[in-house]
Symmetry: C2
Subunit: 303 residues, 2 copies
């Protein structure tokens, strides 16, 4: 079970009624955040999610609206008595940028590890989260992220019996261990069915609508994607500033064939995003507007 | 006429219903801010005061809750098409700290000038504001600030007549010019009465209650002062973390004999500051609780 919360939906600058775009996920006692602009720690407090178990912070790019809340967030984590290390992942230069911002937050009671991305596609496993970082197309180096929780196959009793696996080994094998008994070695694949569908959430902002995005988002239970502009005539502006319109985002969701899609990272000039959704849903019916504090719990599907 | 707004009243960390402590003042088309923690730009937007005419930024000290909103504020000023230079004043190291935070806001369409304070008392004149920076007592170098708007004396017709000042010089002299006519030189003091009471606002956070504070605040129309704790038993904590209780702050206001005093910089643990005000007002009747967005317009007094 993975809990997801869209902490904010603003792009460019925080507004009195719209926090900057950021996503938080909770799984198995640990938490992950993507981006932390000015005010993200307040948004987190508003929804009542603790900063203490945040062990992974993924940064899409170094524009202030995606990272300037870092010093305050680190201090608030420290005040919450976080002790476990924090891994910060981001484009090349992430350590330099974070350490520079830490000029006002030099003393933190937990370790920070940095992972710098430079390839177009990077796979990471951090605290139980399988993470795929994929390069997108903004005016500075920028990454989208897919977060997956894999799920093992079911224990196959018939398979175990027909392979003559001793009963006492079943439990250990089901838990993923390799077991040796009486000179014979048994591996988990001898008793387990094929891996089942896990959970997958994809997050992408800021970018033009490139193929890498829908390719990475394929199979997602939830796809959170920027939609900077709702007005169709702002496609020119979207191209100029390397963002997307709602319609361009919806096309990506359709191609990725995701189960559900939320739009976010709205321009400060976008005051009534709802008015564009009829046309947007004609492109892809499963897309809806993100809003601050929007949550979703995604369960493994029983087969 | 000086407009003052207390943008926030939180200490340590911003909360969903309490912005970090910051003060803004508007005078004669220009604006000044003291401190800009995370979210100050949002608080400013909430009260509807523009970031564009902000020409002076005074920083009390380098703890994140007083300065971490800088990159976002600078970018928002830039988006508001500010072109006039910004002067940032703060303790020694202010340039290094601000430039380090600017790693995520490197491109700003206006100049930034820095003034570093190292003496215990510094007098500055910036954009019509007379500023007195005074060193206070925190666990890092920290300054309080008095902002004054001086007021010239009245034009004294009898004085001008008895000194035989030509009538055509009166207007120029009243405006502060020195005038030479027919080989004779006339100066403003020959026609003006003594300077009248101006406007003075004093702001102080974070500090223990030291004499420098009430001495600097003397004669203030408004004194905004930290009161981190309302609970009398937290005096020990106040001493330990170099802050003040409401009662210690009230004693300062009483000694300074100010016209009005607001408390601010409340601890996140302080949820009902009102309950302590009866006792606080027994020390000094003119002190009241600051609140986010509290405004006051201070006029010159007609004599």
């Amino acid at each position: 079970m993975l809990d997801v919360c869209l902490l904010g939906t603003a792009g460019m600058m925080p507004l009195p009624d719209r926090w900057l775009t950021s996503m938080m996920a909770r799984y198995n006692g640990t938490s992950l955040i993507i981006d932390c602009g000015e005010g993200t720690q307040i948004a987190m407090k508003e929804v009542g999610w603790s900063p203490k178990p945040v062990d992974v912070l993924l940064i899409t790019h170094f524009h202030a609206d995606h990272i300037s809340g870092l010093p305050g967030l680190l201090l608030t984590m420290g005040n919450a008595e976080k002790k476990s290390p924090l891994t910060i992942v981001g484009p090349k230069g992430i350590k330099r940028v974070c350490e520079s911002l830490r000029v006002v937050a030099p003393e933190i009671p937990f370790e920070i590890e940095y992972i710098e991305l430079s390839e177009h596609d990077v796979e990471l496993e951090l605290r139980g989260f399988m993470i795929h970082a994929f390069r997108v197309k903004h005016n500075v180096p920028c990454y989208g992220y897919s977060i997956s929780i894999p799920r093992a196959g079911k224990f196959d009793v018939e398979k175990a019996k027909s392979a003559n696996i001793p009963l006492k080994c079943w439990n250990l094998l089901q838990k993923g261990n390799t077991v040796s008994v009486d000179g014979l070695t048994y591996t988990p694949d001898m008793v387990m069915g094929p891996p089942r569908k896990g959970i997958k959430v994809t997050y992408c902002t800021d970018s033009r609508p490139v193929d890498a995005i829908w390719q990475a988002a394929k199979g997602s239970d939830l796809f959170i994607c920027e939609g900077m502009y709702g007005e169709p005539e702002k496609k020119v502006k979207a191209r100029q500033f390397k963002h997307m319109t709602f319609y361009e985002a919806a096309e990506l969701g359709k191609k990725a064939d995701v189960d559900e899609m939320w739009l976010t990272h709205f321009s400060p000039s976008l005051v009534a995003p709802k008015r564009y959704m009829k046309d947007v849903n004609e492109i892809f019916s499963k897309v809806s507007l993100g809003f601050d504090g929007r949550m979703k719990t995604i369960d493994f599907i029983d087969e």
